[in-house]
Amino acid sequence: MRPLSRDTFHILVALADRERHGYSIMQDVHERTGGAVRLSPSTLYSAIKRLLDEGLIEELAERPDPDNHDERRRYYRLTKAGRRAAAEEAKHLEKLLADARSSGLVPKRS
């Protein structure tokens, strides 16, 4: 499988715990990365379209966001394949990190 891009991976992670609409994904990525990653609306929806095409996420019926405004939103959630892809990617990243640690590039966790 093709390695996931950074943005794509962030989106999959954001959808790991629950289904979200676009803005919620954006906010989650922002908070989770401590403000380091801020997706633009265009980047977000280009990625969403690609993930939909690849079958990694799926779209749910439109519904209003309960804790926010009354506009109807499209919600997305991970598919099985999406969850697997994200897990694969995480494992891959872990291995990279382990390699970096054993080579002394990154201090080992005490």
């Binding site: 676009g22 803005y23 633009s40 609306p41 265009s42 969403i48 405004h69």
Partner: protein, 858 residues
């Protein structure tokens, strides 16, 4: 802010915008609401905009990629349609690219000289004839050079030839006689040595020459110390003062340049034989230089009488050099454009038919949510893919076609002409391919997308049924194709008829069995008129003795090869200089007329006793023009301007008319003078009993048997000389006929295909009619009526378009009117025949439809 953002959403492909446009604005609105400060909101907005600008093209590429993949799948699946379409496009684009590469070489490519856009040609022309490529008189040139404030370098030149000698034997080369300013204006820098100085143009200056790099290599082994060595011609020795770089040629194909050793003060102002070239000063336009030339010449004429009123002119050098080809190339471009349009129509029809076959697919896709915009976009991408293949094949065809075309040119073309396929030609081909693809892609896309989804799905049983708008589109395309090919056919027929008229015209002499030898002999070997006469006599006897030779004569210039025009006065009828006309002035030996087969009509032929005599033979046209109803015999004529003290010549004979000066257009009247001491002819005409070509070797041997230093510059039959004069017309006719043949084939194929397809769609209707008692002939009539309606509409429009094209062609035509009825009749006849044929077969098939089978379709 949001409104601006929404406007920017248009950058996305329509599909994506429809799908996510609302979401994008919503998310941005949320983001903006969550920011408290105005500055932060501006940053958020800019960030969103930047993201959009980056992502939108990516989305476009994704759509394009998908469409291209889809198109390539179709290409593989529908091999027959694809192959046909690509072939047709290759022909259309290939023809257009081929002609464009000619136009590019002639009209667009910069001349191979430094800063060539600042080079201009100078000339004078007679007020009645501004189209004529004029020349400059030497004293006028000297004045122009002294007076001009807008020109940097001014020079004159005249193409010439020379026979050079050396240990490699004699060789006849093309040369030019120039003044120092000509080479400097062209901005050429010598590889060795220097250019000419001003003093070297004086008659008293030492004899010098500048040679080309090729000549340097060929005759001097590229010796770096060549400057100061001697180039020997038949009559003179010239000291080499310079070598010009490889690739420099001017004019045409010259390989050596001699200074014009003439004193302007001693040259008459009516002697027009030089061509002018100059370089504009920085910031000066051609128009300014032209105005200056005009003013200078007015001034010069005012100062010197008599005044012939000729007008000074400056024009871009390229325009001057390409003037004779320009109209022909533009006409061909138009013809190629028409052919391309026909190819376009054919492919459009192919795709229309295919589109009908794909109506179900489209309907299903539409039902599944594909928008019309999306489908059109995809169809145009498909067309572009076809266009790309067709364009590539077309460029390949053009590449092969250029050398093929050039092989039809019997003369050495000027070296500045470069017809190779360069970036500009490629860009043209790409542009043409894209425009073509969009045109032929849009036509079926329009028809397709109007398809009512529901109707198509409902009529699922009759998979082939087709909507009315589609049928109308197909018919329109066919009518357009017929009209366009009618245009081309008429044009081709005009060009061909003009060429044949030109080639088959009565020249007035035997052209197939007469050889023309251009001889160059040393003046030192024959210093006196008596010695020269003796040589001519020897040649006549010896060459006349070659088996197969019937007669031999000499002249100053073979017919069509050398038009020497002179002004003249008839005794007792003085005319002012500006009213004087030109005649072809031909010097001949006895036997000239019988050798060429020109019958005497009155008076007598020249005899050996006429050497140096002041007698004259005039053409029938000359006699009829100046002595209508009276005999010309005994009248006297004098050549040169009014006050010249040239001797009078008495007319002793009238001979039949013959083409002398030019092959095309109004020829001047001709007068023939007997050879004289001061005008020894250099062209030997030999008439053979049968095909003269095999005699060339034996005749050349006889010539060299008399004097091995006599150089034979050329040995051609008069037919070949005519061919050399008519090559442009032949090229035009060949290309035109080829284009028309292609157009006819394409249009006929398209016509047939549409008729056949229409009949196949009407299977049901025909079956029903026949079941209800319609006769087979009635059905055939119905099909025929459809065909003839199409053909007649196409032809009616075509006639009008053809007249427009013919108007463009008119300057190229010879003795054929642009509205020549035969040319306009040929095309419709060919078409009605094609139409009849194209409707006969489908019509017959229609009547064989078994009503039961047809009805079962229901």
């Amino acid at each position: 802010m949001l409104r601006i953002y929404r406007a920017f959403l248009r950058l996305y492909p329509g599909e994506f915008r429809d799908e996510y446009g609302r979401e994008l604005s919503l998310v941005l609105a949320d983001r903006l609401r969550d920011e408290s400060s105005a500055l932060a909101r501006v940053f958020v907005w800019l960030h969103a905009l930047a993201g959009l600008v980056v992502e939108a093209p990516v989305e476009h590429l994704r759509v394009l990629g998908a469409d291209v993949r889809h198109a390539l799948r179709l290409v593989r699946r529908e091999t027959a349609t694809t192959t046909a379409a690509v072939l047709i496009l290759a022909l259309g684009i290939g023809a257009a690219t081929l002609v464009f590469s000619l136009a590019n070489g002639l009209l667009l490519r910069p001349l191979p000289y430094a800063a060539s856009d600042r080079l201009i040609a100078l000339d004078e022309y007679s007020p009645g004839d501004s189209k004529e490529n004029g020349t400059v008189a030497l004293p006028n040139y000297a004045d122009i050079r002294a007076r001009s404030r807008l020109l940097d370098e001014v020079g004159v030149y005249i193409p010439s030839g020379a026979t050079i000698r050396g240990n490699q034997g004699a060789e006849v080369i093309r040369t030019a006689t120039v003044t120092d300013g000509a080479l400097r204006a062209l901005g050429v820098q010598p590889v060795y040595g220097r250019l000419f100085t001003r003093d070297e143009a004086l008659p008293t200056a030492p004899r010098v020459v500048i040679i080309s790099q090729q000549l340097h290599q060929r005759r001097f082994g590229s010796d770096p110390a060549v400057v100061g060595k001697v180039l020997e011609t038949l009559n003179q020795r010239y000291t080499i003062v310079g070598v010009l770089p490889a690739g420099f040629h001017f004019p045409d194909v010259a390989e050596a340049w001699f200074p014009l050793r003439m004193d302007p003060a001693k040259s008459p102002r009516t002697d027009y034989f030089l061509q002018g070239v100059a370089r504009l000063k920085d910031g000066v336009t051609v128009e300014q230089a032209d105005a200056e030339m005009r003013a200078m010449l007015n001034q010069i004429h005012a100062e010197h009488q008599p005044n012939n009123g000729w007008i000074g002119r400056a024009q871009p050098l390229r325009a001057r050099l390409s003037a004779q080809y320009r109209d022909g190339v533009l006409t061909l471009l138009a013809a190629a454009g028409v052919l391309l349009a026909i190819a376009c129509g054919n492919v459009a029809n192919l795709l229309l038919v295919r589109a009908s076959a794909r109506r179900r697919e489209v309907a299903v896709r539409t039902a599944l949510g594909a928008t019309r915009r999306r489908l059109v976009r995809q169809m145009i991408t498909e067309s572009l893919v076809l266009g790309a293949f067709g364009g590539a094949a077309g460029v390949l065809l053009a590449r092969l076609g250029v050398p093929l075309l050039l092989s039809l040119v019997p003369i050495a073309l000027p070296r500045w002409l470069d017809f190779s396929i360069d970036g500009r030609v490629l860009a043209f081909a790409v542009l043409v391919s894209i425009v073509t693809s969009v045109v032929f892609g849009t036509i079926p896309a329009l028809g397709l997308s109007r398809t009512a989804v529901v109707e198509t799905l409902k009529s699922a049983g009759r998979g082939l049924s087709t909507g009315r708008p589609q049928r109308r589109l197909r018919n329109l395309v066919v009518i357009a194709e017929l009209a366009l090919s009618m245009t081309l056919l008429a044009g081709a027929s005009l060009a061909a008829r003009s060429f044949f008229a030109l080639r088959m015209q009565t020249l007035g002499y035997h052209s197939s069995d007469v050889l023309s030898f251009d001889l160059d002999r040393s003046e030192r070997g024959y210093p006196t008129p008596a010695a020269q006469r003796a040589l001519l006599d020897r040649l006549r006897t010896d060459v006349g003795g070659v088996p197969g030779v019937e007669s031999v004569a000499f002249t100053t210039g073979a017919p069509l090869d050398d038009g020497w025009g002179r002004i003249f006065t008839i005794e007792g009828r003085p005319v002012p200089l500006e009213a004087m006309t030109f005649v072809n002035h031909v010097v001949v030996t006895p036997g000239y007329f019988s050798t060429l087969g020109m019958p005497m009509q009155q008076g007598r032929d020249f005899t050996a006793g006429d050497f140096d005599a002041r007698v004259l033979i005039v053409s029938r046209a000359f006699a009829a023009r100046h002595f209508p109803g009276a005999s010309a015999l005994g009248k006297r004529v004098r050549f040169g301007p009014p006050k010249a003290d040239e001797p009078w010549h008495t007319i002793v004979g009238v001979v039949a008319d013959a083409r002398h000066g030019q092959l095309k257009g109004e020829d001047r009247d001709s007068v023939y003078l007997p050879f004289a001491a001061e005008m020894m002819p250099g062209v030997m005409l030999v008439r053979a009993a049968s095909d003269p070509k095999p005699l060339i070797g034996a005749i050349t041997d006889r010539i060299h048997g008399i004097d091995k230093d006599i150089a034979v510059a050329s040995a051609l039959t008069l037919d070949e000389i005519v061919d050399r004069r008519a090559w442009q017309d032949r090229l035009l006719a060949v290309l035109f006929v080829a284009f028309a043949a292609l157009a006819l084939t394409l249009a006929a194929a398209g016509f047939y295909a549409v008729l056949a397809y229409t009949v196949s769609l009407q299977t049901h209707e025909i079956g029903l009619r026949m079941a209800l008692g319609a006769s087979a002939s009635g059905v055939r009539r119905m099909v025929m009526r459809h065909a003839m309606t199409l053909a007649a509409s196409g032809l009616a429009i075509g006639v009008v378009a053809a007249a427009a094209l013919a108007y463009l062609l008119r300057t190229q035509l010879y003795q054929v009117s642009p509205l020549d009825p035969v040319s306009y009749a040929i095309a419709p006849m060919i078409f009605l025949l094609t139409g009849a044929l194209a409707s006969y077969l489908p019509g017959r098939r229609a009547t064989r439809v078994d009503p039961l089978v047809a009805l079962r379709h229901e």
